[in-house]
Symmetry: C2
Subunit: 274 residues, 2 copies
């Protein structure tokens, strides 16, 4: 199987792709959109995309792809992996000599307290990705990087600490996007996206009611700006059950006319590899 | 009036503070939390905090403050301002000579297409803030910055373009946090935050139903991870009406026992300075 994903090699998305299928052919792309386009053009069988992080929330790039009204792929699986931020550098030395620590601003923010205690004299420096930060650290002995240990290993960098995250509950949920659909397993989720006419009283509740009345579990609701007007949103809802289940199908059929536009993003097995 | 805000001088938050009260004493702080703490310690009368951007969605730092169960301030106003990303540098010169453009990754992403057409030879470089980027541009003739025009003006930088955003619909909504409460005006909003027991069928709908049944308009729903467990959220809901209005008060009273925890963040006049 060919799996496309947001590169470079050594990202957390690559870890998720290997978790999904360790024997697959991994194909890194420059953007999430490029990885999905590869599936649409049959260059790849499946794209793995980060969709939600336990600390930061939704991954916007992926939601923007799922908002597309003519999406030709659908969600066939979810994968959850723990996220660890390793502190790495060229060679082992006293952390007091370190002058700068490079990383993506999000990773720097997630490790702020650890950095103050571990590398008190270092200045945080922003990078465009954790992979780019590791590149910088590999070129300067007084610079460390925060990133995925998998990106540091091929460069033979020294691992000062395998995880300096301030909060150890960090996980990211990924989705697999493919042209086929996933069969019912008995423990499935269905993802929906919809928009509503602006500012109509109670309209969001009207859309959710058909699910509540059937005791269908709502595991997630996320709103994203439409980028047209402040206060208008795309709503992303995950429900428990498969679209082929008659109860789920009925509820969706009842909810759809209460939206402006509704798309079923896919039904797929719930992640439960603890 | 003393207004605390996320500095440095020249940020969009400062623009919002001046829009709120142009005669106030403006006090920049290092973080949103510090600006709010200043109000709690009576060093400031009011804090202005960005809460939502039309392109990027919620401002996480502010939502984290509003999740606090013992918050001693409440929302007394909202302010909406247009966001423009200016391209600035030390002195006017041919854009073909520019080698790097510095900015916060979010601003770089929001201007990506403009950068490719305007400054084709420049490499984007990440900075920790747009203000820090302008600082770098003020020190190097071959470097430009993307930032708020108000931060470039005191440094006498050349303004190549007052707004190179790819999408011109960019706006940010700010809130004012203070110890007092805002009186009813007849066109008000009330903001709520709540959590729910994990994974109970239909529970979110049960909380929203008391509002829908009374035809109370729901202008926003936003979910944020609790940072404890993937799949558990804080829900932020804005409704139209003031908490002193008996219909609103009744609906909240009916919704509260259906949540695990609910806090009224404040009632305040709707922004309508078009």
């Amino acid at each position: 199987m060919r799996i496309s994903y947001l590169g470079p090699v050594g990202t957390h998305t690559e870890s998720a792709a290997m978790e999904y299928d360790s024997t697959s052919q991994l194909m890194p792309y420059a953007t999430v959109q490029d990885a999905v386009n590869a599936v649409e053009k049959d260059e790849s069988d499946l794209a793995i995309c980060a969709i939600e992080n336990a600390l930061e929330g939704a991954v916007i790039e992926t939601l923007i792809i799922l908002q597309n009204e003519v999406l030709s792929v659908n969600i066939t699986a979810e994968i959850v992996i723990p996220i660890k931020h390793a502190l790495v550098g060229i060679s082992e030395q006293s952390l007091e000599n370190i002058t700068t620590v490079h990383s993506h601003p999000q990773a720097l923010a997630q490790c702020r307290e650890s950095l103050i205690s571990l590398v008190p004299n270092a200045k945080p420096v922003a990078a465009l990705s954790t992979a780019a930060a590791i590149e910088s650290a590999a070129q300067n002995p007084n610079t460390l990087a925060i990133g995925n240990i998998r990106a540091a290993t091929p460069k033979s960098l020294h691992i000062y600490n395998p995880d300096i995250s301030d909060n150890k509950n960090n996980q990211t949920r990924f989705i697999a996007l493919a042209k086929n659909t996933a069969p019912q397993t008995g423990d499935d989720k269905t993802s929906l996206v919809f928009t509503m006419a602006y500012d109509i009283p109670g309209s969001l509740v009207d859309v959710l009611l058909p699910f509540a009345q059937r005791k269908i579990n709502l595991s997630k609701i996320e709103s994203r700006p439409t980028r047209q007007q402040l206060g208008t949103y795309y709503f992303f809802v995950d429900i428990h059950g498969h679209r082929d289940d008659p109860t789920i199908a009925d509820a969706i059929r009842e909810a759809q006319p209460k939206t402006q536009w509704l798309n079923i993003l896919g039904s797929y097995p719930r992640w439960n590899h603890q």
